[in-house]
């Protein structure tokens, strides 16, 4: 170790915070005792144990009143070194307040003990022999919870100073009784001791993922101006978030990254045995020439499977599952020079740990098969309805079916199969979760735990429920180094669930989801790992873990969530290939899972990539199927889904999400998703040392008797003009001019209000500033549709006061104001027709026309249609091609001010005309109510003739009729053009979504095809 040994004072100063001062510090060591083992460590096998260095320090603290001084004797203990590049670290082993009954004494072996508690006046000690070992005994006093400690030191000079200092402080402490200054004595010591000395982020259990999805300010206690909430718990939350943020920015973001390609699949196999090639499902694309592949195993008659359930493909695939078998020569690519260097794992320093994985019976030496960068590192496959037999429900029927399917999966991996092995699996009746990994990564996966929960018959049977596996992935250090540099592991959890079937079981599925989340527990007993083997914070926690106690959580499930639309609707929307995009948008809107996520009833905060594949359920065979092959008796649905949720530390990129229609052996189609998970490859030591260092800056905020002090500038902010979907940004500077770190948050002026007005965004709503540092808070005035809908109805002058509350401190006020530019967007038709002129000219809501004097139609809509009639009828793709953002804003501005349109239009200028069309569409979309009142949608959808269609108009408000008639007349007009013949259906689909906007809260939605038919009577 080339680092110079730091002096005791240097070490102590490193630990002590700015509010305290190190008076004296000396080296010391523990008096030899029987249990000294815990205080030594072995540097190498050849050297004898070295005692851990200890430092004895006297620390003084001056109360904020500048008068009262208090002292404390610290015993600092060196931590075991982990890697050489990190300086030695110390923890506070003991902290003894120097109080009236505190005593510290020293003794020279076989010499008189000097008792400091009653020192002879003016006495000094003649202890000048160098290298004399002295004994120091600290007695904290009988009324304290501490017991006395005895140490040895050779620093006689230092010890003398230390004793002097203790005496001085003790006198100071007894002298202060004459003052009634109010403070908590010795509260400043608390942050140094025991529990508080461990940063919260060093727990080996990742924080609950669900909590991380909620911004910190939303997790704080309820509070408003003058009525602080629970400042102490808020400090904790804000500080933890701040630590996480710093960790993210300064360690994770800048350091090495570890990438893991995870391919996830879910397949309800309907009790079938594998009879087809699964390669489409288990691997992305096959890049090798067909001749090098195993012949696809298509259409093997189920009869040939035979009674003994021997899988017909087993014989072909035996080589990859049984040791010693040779690889069929056909599948080895002739050129294996492209063998990836990364497949060499021998250099990995990570510890190989036992796991619960079964012997995967793979030949010991993988042959030279090239790895592609696109090959998944990890395959996670969930099967449902593996075994539908009644016996399976009652007792375990063995692993025959699991073996069959695993063989089929390895077969599907083709020539790559030799690169993989099974890591773990968990089965519960028909639900099977299997994790297959690249063999070379085997050492990187540790702490494998499994769990399962039945939620079927009687709420416990395993016909429905979930199985789950949790693993720790520890990236290999790069470059491979000593054992001290193992990386911080990333915890991955996977859940394979199968929820209640049938459309009407929607609520049951939501309840089941929450039930599974609670009941799926990974017991430590399940893990095959040996926790005592490593000395890091990251030893697997010997506690049960929930599924959300991970860095990334994936659900690969047959959720049985259905589509809410009527059967005929679903089929016809799916069948219309031309309108696939638009129809899928509509279908997704009415998918029960999407509905549950939107309403936060289940899978709140999970991410699912928008589905672009056909529903995976339910396919039939023979006569009773529709054109797409779906069973006529069951409404098609996206029952098979893959969702995920991650912490900030990892980034998950989803590369695909698709179903595999070619695999037809079940009534479901398998679904797969490819992910790339990117996590920090930071060493545990680096992580911990950083965390310890940063933690020191912010620990003990809650114990400081100093009030936090901020300077918040400016305290008046004017945004000038604020407009719909226009961004105006201002900065608020928050400087910490006090001595203690300051946690702050914005609170509301009163409990009825929000902390932030609807037109403003505050970044960040809560934060932390260190003493002498400042931070910028970005205030962005931005009016979205919802805010505009409110603001349009009120006064144009916006004024508000922001209240910045400092935890354990005062409130600061910032006045914010602006002038709102009213807009015709995000209003209602009924309101627009009461405008006496352009919307921008409206001074106050009282200037609106009375309802009976309102005009017959909104000018803004009619102006847009008129413009399009003059300039746009020759443009192709109106409403189908998005408009240029800036042009749309300019058009909107002219509508709002009532000015003539300022955009010049030249021949063949489709950019401008498309922008006008898009402005019209967006204006209609932004209206608070659809043009056709929602209450009439059901009736409209049932109409079967043009006459009826015109008749129902009578039930609309007059203004809505006029808007409807003009819009449809325009669409009819452009629809007559040759070039629109093919697009008219698309326009109908788009305008149905806008003019007969879907009611997303309805569990019995109105038929989409019915609504489209209605519109078709007017424009078809």
């Amino acid at each position: 170790m080339s680092k110079p040994v730091r002096s005791p004072t240097e070490v102590a100063q490193d630990i002590i915070r700015p509010t305290e001062e190190v008076k004296v510090a000396i080296d010391a060591r523990t008096a030899p005792r029987a249990d000294a083992d815990s205080e030594t460590w072995t540097v190498s096998e050849h050297e004898p144990p070295v005692p851990r260095r200890k430092i004895l320090a006297v620390v003084s603290h001056l109360q904020p009143n500048g008068k009262h001084e208090q002292g404390c004797v610290f015993v600092l203990l060196q931590r075991p070194p982990r890697i050489q590049s990190i300086p030695d670290e110390y923890v506070v082993e003991h902290a003894f307040p120097v109080l009236h009954n505190f005593s510290i004494s020293m003794a020279q072996p076989r010499q008189t003990t000097v008792d400091l508690s009653s020192p002879p006046p003016g006495s000094t000690f003649a202890l000048d022999q160098p290298k004399t070992e002295l004994t120091v005994t600290i007695k904290p006093g009988e009324d304290t919870p501490f017991s006395s400690v005895t140490l040895h030191t050779t620093d006689t000079q230092g010890l003398r100073l230390l004793l002097d200092e203790c005496r001085r402080l003790k006198e100071a402490s007894t002298a202060e009784t004459d003052d009634d200054y109010d403070f908590e004595p010795f509260a400043w010591i608390a942050p140094y001791v025991a529990d508080h000395a461990v940063p919260p982020l060093l727990s080996s259990i990742p924080p609950d993922l669900r909590k991380l999805q909620i911004p910190v300010h939303a997790r704080l206690s309820p509070a408003s101006a003058g009525v602080p909430g629970s400042d102490l718990s808020d400090v904790e939350a804000i500080r933890e978030d701040w630590l996480r943020e710093r960790m993210q920015k300064e360690i994770f973001a800048v350091g090495e990254k570890a990438r893991l390609k995870i391919r996830i699949g879910t397949f309800n196999v309907n009790g079938k045995l594998p009879s087809q090639d699964l390669s489409a499902w288990v691997r992305d694309q096959i890049t090798l020439p067909a001749s090098a592949l195993i012949p696809p195993l298509k259409e093997i008659s189920p009869l040939s499977i035979g009674e003994d359930r021997k899988n017909p493909i087993e014989e072909q695939l035996g080589w990859c599952l049984h040791p010693g078998n040779t690889i069929p020569s056909g599948i080895i690519p002739p050129d294996s020079s492209s063998l990836a260097a990364s497949s060499d794992s021998s250099a990995s320093g990570a510890t190989v740990v036992d796991t619960i994985s079964e012997d995967t019976t793979v030949s010991d030496q993988p042959p030279d098969v090239p790895e592609d960068p696109s090959d998944p590192d990890m395959l996670v496959l969930g099967f449902q309805e593996l075994d539908l037999s009644a016996e399976a429900l009652l007792y375990s029927t063995g692993t025959a079916r699991e073996d069959n399917w695993c063989m089929a999966v390895f077969a599907g991996l083709g020539e790559k199969a030799v690169l993989y092995e099974k890591l773990a699996s968990k089965q519960l009746v028909g639900m099977l979760l299997v994790i297959i990994i690249k063999k070379r990564l085997r050492p990187n996966f540790t702490d494998v735990r499994t769990a399962s929960v039945g939620a079927g018959i009687m709420g416990i049977m395993g016909n429905k429920g979930a199985t789950a596996i949790r693993v720790s992935f520890t990236p290999s250090p790069s470059p491979p180094a000593s054992s001290g540099s193992e990386s911080r592991p990333t915890a991955l959890a996977f859940v394979n669930a199968h929820l209640a079937a049938f459309d009407e079981m929607y609520e049951k599925r939501n309840v089941d989801f929450h039930d599974l989340c609670k009941r799926l527990v990974f017991d430590y007993a399940n893990s095959g790992d040996d926790i005592a083997s490593t000395g890091s914070w990251y030893t697997p926690a010997a506690v049960p873990l929930g599924i959300f106690d991970a860095d990334a959580l994936f659900w690969l499930v047959n959720l049985n969530y259905r589509l809410l639309l009527p059967d005929a609707d679903v089929r016809s929307l799916l069948a219309d290939y031309e309108l696939r995009d638009e129809n899928f948008r509509v279908l997704r809107r009415f998918d029960q899972l999407t509905t549950a996520m939107r309403s936060k009833k289940a899978f709140d905060s999970f991410i699912e990539r928008p589905i672009t594949h056909l529903p995976s359920y339910r396919f039939g065979s023979g006569m009773l199927t529709d054109g797409l092959g779906y069973d006529m008796k069951r409404k098609p649905a996206w029952t098979d889904r893959i969702l995920h949720m991650t912490s900030r530390a990892v980034v998950v990129k989803q590369e695909s999400y698709t179903s595999h229609p070619a695999i037809t052996m079940s009534d479901h189609r398998p679904v797969s998703a490819a992910f790339e998970l990117e996590g920090p490859a930071v060493s545990v030591a680096e992580y911990e040392s950083f965390m310890q260092r940063v933690w020191r800056e912010v620990s003990g905020i809650e114990y400081a008797e100093e009030r936090p002090r901020l300077r918040v500038t400016p305290n008046i902010i004017d945004f000038a003009r604020i407009g719909h979907k226009r961004t105006v940004t201002r900065t608020l500077e928050v400087a910490n001019i006090g001595k203690v770190p300051c946690a702050f948050r914005f609170v509301s002026q009163n409990f009825a209000a929000d902390a932030c007005p609807s037109w403003l965004r505050i970044e960040a709503m809560a934060g932390l500033v260190l003493p002498g540092k400042k931070t910028e808070i970005i205030l962005t005035a931005y009016v979205d549709d919802a805010a505009a809908a409110q603001l349009n109805l009120g006064n144009a002058r916006l004024e508000d006061t922001l209240v910045l509350h400092t935890a354990l401190g005062r409130d600061y006020f910032v006045a914010v104001s602006g002038d709102y530019d009213r807009t015709c967007f995000a209003t209602s038709i009924a309101w627009l027709v009461r405008l006496p002129g352009p919307v921008r000219a409206l001074q106050a809501p009282s200037d609106l026309l009375p309802e009976d004097k309102s005009v017959n139609a909104p000018r803004e809509i009619m102006r847009l249609i008129n413009w399009l009639m003059s300039n746009g009828t020759q443009t192709d793709g109106l409403f189908l091609t998005p408009g240029d953002e800036e042009l749309v804003l300019r058009i909107r501005e002219d509508l709002d001010t009532g000015e003539e349109f300022s955009l010049e239009v030249t021949q063949n200028d489709s950019k401008t005309t498309l922008a006008f069309a898009d402005t019209l569409l967006r204006l209609l979309e932004s209206l608070t109510d659809p043009v056709i009142p929602s209450s009439l949608h059901a009736k409209c959808a049932q109409i079967t003739s043009r006459d009826e269609a015109f008749e129902i108009l009578d039930q609309f408000p007059v203004v809505n009729i006029n808007v409807w008639i003009s819009l449809t007349a325009f669409l009819h007009f452009i629809g007559q053009r040759e070039s629109y013949q093919t697009k008219i259906e698309h326009l109908i689909a788009i305008f149905t979504s806008v003019l007969l906007r879907d009611d997303l809260n309805s569990l019995m939605p109105v038929s989409i095809t019915g609504k489209r038919n209605f519109l078709r009577y007017f424009i078809g």
Binding site: A857, N866, N962
Partner: protein, 209 residues
């Protein structure tokens, strides 16, 4: 059994000649001295019953006369079965405007469209600028129906719509009227299309006013 027919009728003419007032009188039998100028167009329906109990339902598209909404007109008169082109008898320029609308209809609209020229504000005949003879002559030349009305007093208003109803070809099968557009006899009453009531008189006839 009564027969019902449905027709699309469009009103055109310079701003302020009284198109909306005419419709208001026809549909609600009301008049309003201060009317907001029409924005874009307004849509109303009204049914007239002929002597032979045939009912004709008009889908009325009352368009805006203001120049700024001028381009909208084609989408309203497209597929219209009949048009009422209105001028103000106290404003000779409004007849010029009416003529230009008629030319546009003759060029662009359905060739079978029935057009009526209507001189409004008959109650203000003291300030008349357009003589009956002048307008009538023009209508005859162009083969239009013609009449004068007062939306204010109601004079001549229902006559002009009734005359149009009589004039419309109540025999027309749906296919003759441009796809699915109006003019199709109402199907709900189960009309026998081959057994029609008397159609109106020949072209150029004027209404009874």
């Amino acid at each position: 059994m009564s027969k019902q027919f449905q027709f699309k009728l469009v009103l055109l003419g310079e701003s302020a000649v009284g198109k909306s007032s005419l419709v208001l009188r026809f549909v609600k039998d009301q008049f309003d001295d201060y009317r907001e100028s029409t924005i874009g167009a307004a849509f109303l329906t009204q049914t007239v019953t002929l002597e032979d109990q045939t009912t004709v339902k008009f889908e009325i598209w009352d368009t805006a006369g203001q120049e700024r909404y001028k381009s909208l007109a084609p989408m309203y008169y497209r597929n219209a079965n009949c048009a009422v082109v209105v001028y103000d008898i106290t404003q000779s320029t409004s007849l010029e405007k009416a003529k230009s609308w008629i030319r546009e209809l003759q060029r662009q609209a359905d060739p079978n469209i029935v057009i009526a020229l209507c001189g409004n504000k008959l109650d203000l005949s003291a300030r008349r600028q357009v003589s009956q003879e002048e307008a009538k002559k023009y209508a005859e030349e162009e083969g239009l129906m013609w009449g004068e009305t007062s939306a204010k007093t109601g004079e001549g208003v229902s006559d002009i719509f009734t005359s149009i109803a009589k004039k419309l070809p109540l025999t027309a099968p749906p296919s003759a009227r441009g796809g699915t557009r109006p003019g199709v006899p109402g199907g709900r009453t189960g009309v026998d299309l081959n057994k029609q009531a008397n159609a109106g008189q020949g072209q150029g006839d004027q209404c009874n006013c």
